[in-house]
């Protein structure tokens, strides 16, 4: 701690120097609360820094290429959906009587940057689906789902299905002709399924057929149930990725030079 210089006081007010023999060391014996930074304060209470060190300063294997960024890109697309979705939810009304359609019309026509954010949400969904399938393809072709990462794969498959379910439930919300009929047909397809089919369609419709509660039901599933489940599963997926480590490219051998030249020589 740098010392603040003493203020220029008149001589009479200045503290007198200690006389010889007086206990000079008394002040030093009393511990003084040291100044600490916000980070220190937080770390003293949460002990998070080892966790952050574990997450950020872990090593990733040699030979990581651009295909390895697809997972985090999918996560980024999910975050984009979350943020744009929150802004859309501020203006959207799940009212099948006409309010839903009108509120989307209002977002598109009147709200500042409304159509832009709506477009980002709509196209972000397509981008996320493409990225999640590319990520899945990378994991498949690199054999990255094998021991010890089986559980990471299973969680990932659940995330793919939930992402598609997001696409399905989100498609109805604008409540135009396209949305309505695609959802009716989609739910009826579910109804044709064995065993659970009729119950599933009954649950989605909120009754035997499309009715006033169907839209709010889809809305609740779309913005509460599935995103919550996805956030939790993404957390588990990331924990496992960090815990088990990112796979090395399968063609790499430890200790070997990973340039193409060296590889070609090794093959010969």
């Amino acid at each position: 701690m740098p010392r603040i210089p003493a203020p220029p006081l008149p001589k009479a007010l200045q503290p007198r120097p200690k006389r010889p023999g007086q206990d000079v060391e008394a002040g030093a014996a009393t511990p003084v609360e040291a100044g600490i930074t916000v980070v220190d304060w937080l770390d003293e209470r949460t002990a998070l820094s080892p966790g952050i060190r574990w997450l950020m300063w872990r090593k990733v294997p040699r030979g990581i290429n651009w295909a390895y960024t697809l997972g985090s890109a999918t996560l980024f697309a999910f975050l984009n959906q979350a943020v744009t979705g929150v802004f859309l939810a501020m203006y959207y009304r799940p009212d099948a009587a006409g309010g839903a359609y009108e509120s989307i019309r209002n977002i598109n026509d009147n709200v500042f940057l409304g159509q832009f954010v709506h477009g980002m949400h709509k196209w972000g969904a397509s981008v996320m689906i493409i990225l999640i399938f590319l990520h899945m393809g990378r994991v498949f072709f690199y054999g990255a789902y094998k021991y010890p990462r089986e559980l990471t794969w299973v969680i990932g498959v659940v995330l793919v299905i939930l992402t598609l379910a997001m696409g399905f439930t989100g498609y109805l919300l604008p409540f135009d002709q396209r949305a309505y009929w695609a959802s009716v047909v989609g739910i009826n397809i579910n109804a044709g399924g064995p065993f659970v089919g009729p119950f599933l369609s009954n649950f989605l419709f909120g009754g035997a057929d499309f009715n006033a509660t169907t839209l709010s039901r889809f809305y609740a599933i779309h913005m509460l149930v599935i995103p919550g489940a996805m956030a939790a599963l993404i957390g588990a997926h990331l924990y496992l990725v960090t815990k088990l480590g990112i796979t090395a490219p399968p063609w790499l051998k430890p200790g070997a030079d990973d340039t193409d030249h060296a590889l070609a020589e090794a093959e010969v």
Binding site: N80, G124, K146, Q177, P254
Partner: protein
């Protein structure tokens, strides 16, 4: 993988990991660059295509053609192909996707070989490429399928230009009138409850087609209220189906 293979893998992996670089900042920089690309692509798509809103939902229309978002086209196409075989429809829509889903879930549990290089996993390579090709093909053909409300058969070659105009007008009336909800014409329409119309002119003369359209057998609706020119186009079109 047996215990020895598992341990060998973990040993090899820990060496490769130690030879690597820290996640921060090396991998984070790459991920960040990729995130920027994703952001730019999304913004670009949004600015370019926006988010158009169709006409308001109307549960009373019967002629609207439902189309899902593109990532469900493969499912849509399986359904369309299987539609005329009612026995297989539930299997196509629920059975096939469910089986694929279960196969995907259990992948690490039936593919237990320790080999990770794709060129040494011929079955996985073949299965992966087949799956990608099948999904791509189904998505493509799902995207390019005409609406079930339009007729995609070719006009007879013998028609003159004037007749061809009437023929096309008649085909449009068929689409507008929702005939294909109950009749099949060529590749389009539903097989039933009405009879197939692909070769209707072989068995029913034009005059009888006109009278059937005016006084049909229930549940088919009567078309006697159509404007006369549209009605005549319709009759002409149907009378060419041989």
């Amino acid at each position: 993988m047996n215990q020895a293979q598992k341990e060998a893998y973990l040993r090899e992996y820990s060496i490769l990991k130690n030879e690597g670089k820290p996640f921060f900042p090396y991998a984070v920089a790459k991920d960040g660059a990729m995130a920027c690309i994703v952001m730019v692509v999304i913004i670009f798509l949004s600015l370019l295509f926006g988010a158009e809103l169709g006409p308001k939902a109307d549960p009373t229309t019967t002629t609207y053609v439902p189309r899902p978002d593109w990532y469900f086209f493969f499912l849509f196409e399986v359904l369309r192909v299987m539609r005329n075989v009612p026995k297989f429809t539930p299997m196509a829509t629920i059975g096939v996707p469910t089986i694929c889903m279960i196969l995907l879930f259990l992948l690490p549990f039936y593919d237990r070989s320790p080999e990770r290089r794709i060129e040494r996993r011929p079955i996985a390579l073949a299965a992966g490429i087949t799956t990608i090709a099948a999904m791509a093909y189904l998505t493509y053909s799902g995207a390019h399928t005409g609406s079930p409300n339009s007729v995609e058969i070719k006009p007879p070659a013998t028609l003159s230009a004037a007749q061809l105009q009437v023929w096309h007008a008649g085909a449009d009336v068929v689409g507008e009138s929702g005939c294909l909800a109950c009749h099949v014409i060529g590749e389009n329409g539903n097989n039933g409850p009405g009879p197939a119309l692909t070769n209707i002119a072989n068995t029913v003369p034009a005059a009888q087609i006109a009278s059937t359209l005016r006084n049909p057998t229930p549940p088919m609706p009567s078309f006697k209220d159509l404007p006369a020119d549209k009605f005549n186009d319709l009759v002409y079109f149907l009378s060419t189906l041989q």
